[in-house]
Amino acid sequence: MKARVRNVRAGDLEQVAAIDAEITRLPKPGYWAQIHRRYGSGRRQQRFFLVAEAAGRIEGFVIGEVRDWEFGSPRCGWVFAISVRPRARLAGVGSRLLQAICGRFQRLGVTKVRTMLARDNQLILSFFRSQGMMAAPFIPLELDLA
């Protein structure tokens, strides 16, 4: 299976939402249309929402953007989400998606890509590690407000 990576289209959202719901078990009504408006449509010079398509079917997606001085960091690319349909895994789809978004970042002059994820998410952590990603010089912190 050779997936082609392209920009998302409105017609892909149903499949994107289905992939996310299959993986997270958390349906998010309305969320994907919002994400599409923000990352996938109109003028989006620094924002990217890409999908991997094989045989007319969406097998995965990646979302990210270039941000300047986020958390005090010089301009860098952030990957906010990457998902591959479970049955399409181990075929290089995730790698192609990540390479594609990194290529978009590089075209904007970015030389660093970052992401953040739950430390118990071993599958995705291992994926990013296998792509050569290392611990960043940041520590995420949180505070219970309730």
Binding site: R119, Q122, L125, S126, F128
Partner: protein, 132 residues
Amino acid sequence: MKLQKNTLFALYSVLESAARPGRQLSAREIARKHRISPHHLAKVLHTLAQAGVVESVRGVGGGYRFAGNAKRLTLMDVIELFEDFSAPRRRAGAGIEFAVGSVLDEIDEIAKATFRSITIATMLKLVTRKRK
């Protein structure tokens, strides 16, 4: 989290053997490269063989060869053969003890997540990159 010497020797051995799949390496060969005692290393390799991470090949030119799945085996899988992470958490006590324990727990959890997320295949890629 501080790893014991045995654990480090195990990681070196697994990476050395996984870097040369199908090839037998003697304990002496690995020991010489990493400047460790062959006798000490033999015990480590025995534990790895019992766990099925390496297999021992007997006879002339015998040694150990990698027997795991480099894309699936994580650093944590190897480390857990030598370290006991089942020890009670340090949260006992109150006040100062609890606060210090919480910070140490936090560090341990990050270390464990890191070890769980890195496979032997990923480590071999890292070794190659660091050589360049």
